[in-house]
């Protein structure tokens, strides 16, 4: 830009702002407005304890899963791995699944505020091993992010801000295909079961390739629909519907759901983060569309040896998506790596293998340092 253009731009901005009216008066409503009270960040065991009490009193073991796709309601086909388990620890593991997805920032005290963190569930992607389709897998992670980013960027879900958080470094083997240039949404709103996400024009560039574009959309859609009651996403750019997205010009004028691009993902997804819920205890779950609905898991020690394995049945399979879940307790020492997969109906080899570092962001709960 030449000097003349710069002067003209400055003149335009100055003349625009020169029309500014007097500032408004201090809104009287402020004195009547109570900010949503900040709650102290609670460790997972606090939710576990509270939930155990509730469940014991009610006598109703609930196991709530959040899935996607054309899934059957989670049912009795979900099995529990209880190697070395006790009834108490089983309940503790189960009850934790009903803990809130995000933790409110801690209440302030008179001492200087320490940067607080909120936890956001984000969906990252990885390339499974032994995949027939070559489609990427989506895995939910609980990510701790600076409260300033979550609050300042202000989407209703911290996860949407987290996907654009430059501090987010995915665990080994995982990627975030939402380009950093996209930035956080410039506007979001929820109307009924639909969330509208308004991005800047950089969003239109996609992630660089058709499959990457689908994966980027899946990451956002799964992240945006993690709350109960939100089922669809309407994408906008600068407030306008999107008629051409990414390298192939995908039409996004209509709302999309978790089902919209399920043909472009691995047959096994982890939609409930792998949570360390006690020393050597984890739980996780997801959706799968695998032969005879059979989903397998293995825990590997730091030498790569399998130290625990289990199998469960999803609520649907062989052509339909069903929910699955696993619980593992009292692993000693806590293994650092989890594998989720199915066995090939053709030759019995592991297929669509997703490998997840368990301790990423929850080393205290799981008991493994690093990750």
């Amino acid at each position: 830009m030449n000097e003349n253009e710069r002067k003209k731009m400055k003149e335009l901005a100055d003349r625009l702002v020169a029309m500014s009216p007097e500032p408004p008066d201090f809104p009287e409503e402020v004195a009547m407005t109570q900010p949503t009270e900040s709650k102290p960040a609670r460790p997972v065991w606090a939710f576990v304890g509270a939930a155990v009490v509730v469940l014991l009193l009610a006598g109703i073991p609930l196991f709530l899963m959040r899935g996607g796709g054309e899934v059957e309601p989670v049912g009795t086909s979900t099995t529990t791995s209880t190697l070395h388990s006790s009834s108490t620890s089983e309940q503790a593991v189960t009850s934790t699944s009903s803990a809130p997805a995000s933790t409110a920032p801690a209440e302030t005290t008179s001492t200087p505020a320490v940067p607080e963190q909120v936890d956001a569930i984000v969906y990252l992607t990885t390339t499974p091993v032994g995949s027939n389709t070559g489609n990427p897998a989506l895995v939910a992670f609980r990510y701790l992010m600076n409260v300033d980013r979550a609050v300042l960027w202000g989407p209703p879900l911290p996860g949407l801000a987290a996907l654009s958080d430059p501090d987010l470094v995915p665990p080994e083997g995982f990627e975030n295909l939402v380009p950093s240039a996209v930035g956080a949404p410039v506007g979001t709103s929820v109307d009924g079961s639909q969330i509208t996400i308004d991005y800047g024009p950089e969003f239109l560039d996609g992630a660089g390739g058709l499959l990457a574009d689908f994966t980027m959309l899946n990451q956002i859609v799964f992240t945006a629909t993690q709350e109960e009651g939100i089922d669809s996403v309407q994408f906008l750019v600068d407030g306008q519907p999107i008629t051409a997205f990414g390298s192939e010009g995908l039409d996004l004028t209509e709302p999309v759901t978790r089902e919209s691009f399920l043909t472009e993902v691995n047959s096994i997804l982890v939609t409930t983060p792998v949570e360390g819920v006690g020393h050597g205890s984890i739980e996780f779950g997801g959706i799968a569309n695998v032969f005879e609905a059979t989903v397998n898991m293995q825990l590997l020690d730091d030498t790569g040896q399998v130290v625990h394995e289990d199998v469960t049945m999803a609520t649907c399979g062989t052509g339909c998506w069903g929910e699955y879940s696993f619980q593992v307790v009292d692993q000693e020492p806590p293994p650092p790596t989890l594998r989720v997969f199915t066995y090939s109906a053709k030759d019995g080899s592991p297929q669509d293998v997703v490998t997840i570092p368990i301790a990423w962001n929850n080393p205290e709960q799981w008991g493994v340092l690093g990750g």
Binding site: M9, P21, P23, V30, A31, P35, G154
Partner: protein, 156 residues
């Protein structure tokens, strides 16, 4: 929980920044709705969960003004300009509304207006503009480039 001290702090913050926020909002939505946008933004900010954790209230308020401006009414300026065009000339207070400038700026998205105002009126470096908009520096540069492209007629 907000305390008496907290309310006073908010009032002080409002006094400190309401003028510049109103000017900023004028750059985003025009003079007609700037005060409403600032009021809404402050109400939203002061009642937000985590407001008492915010280390930089000024940056927060700038971002909230931008978000409220986007939500406010995407076609407000266009609608106001149509109303002005339809109104009797004598009903328009002279000197208060710069129709030419508003018509030019109306071609820009709210984000492009924000980038232009913060860059050329507030004279901020691109990093500071990105911080106040809550976007990357690359996004700011793209907003500015696209704004200049849409303002070619004005620039020439």
């Amino acid at each position: 929980m907000i305390t008496g001290t907290g309310v006073m702090d908010n009032e002080q913050i409002f006094r400190d920044y309401s003028l510049e926020l109103t000017r900023y909002a004028t750059g985003l939505v025009g003079p007609f709705d700037a005060a409403d946008v600032v009021t809404d933004a402050c109400l939203r900010a002061f009642s937000a969960r985590g407001w008492d954790q915010v280390a930089n209230p000024r940056a927060y308020l700038y971002r909230t003004v931008l978000r409220v401006a986007i939500d406010h009414h995407r076609s407000t300026m266009s609608r106001r300009l149509r109303e002005i065009a339809a109104a009797a000339p004598e009903s328009i207070p002279p000197g208060e509304v710069d129709i030419d400038v508003l018509a030019a700026v109306d071609r820009l998205s709210i984000q492009q207006r924000a980038a232009v105002v913060l860059t050329y009126w507030a004279d901020l470096p691109v990093e500071a503009v990105a911080d106040r908009m809550g976007v990357s520096t690359g996004s700011v540069k793209k907003h500015l480039a696209r704004a200049r492209k849409r303002l070619q007629e004005w620039l020439s």
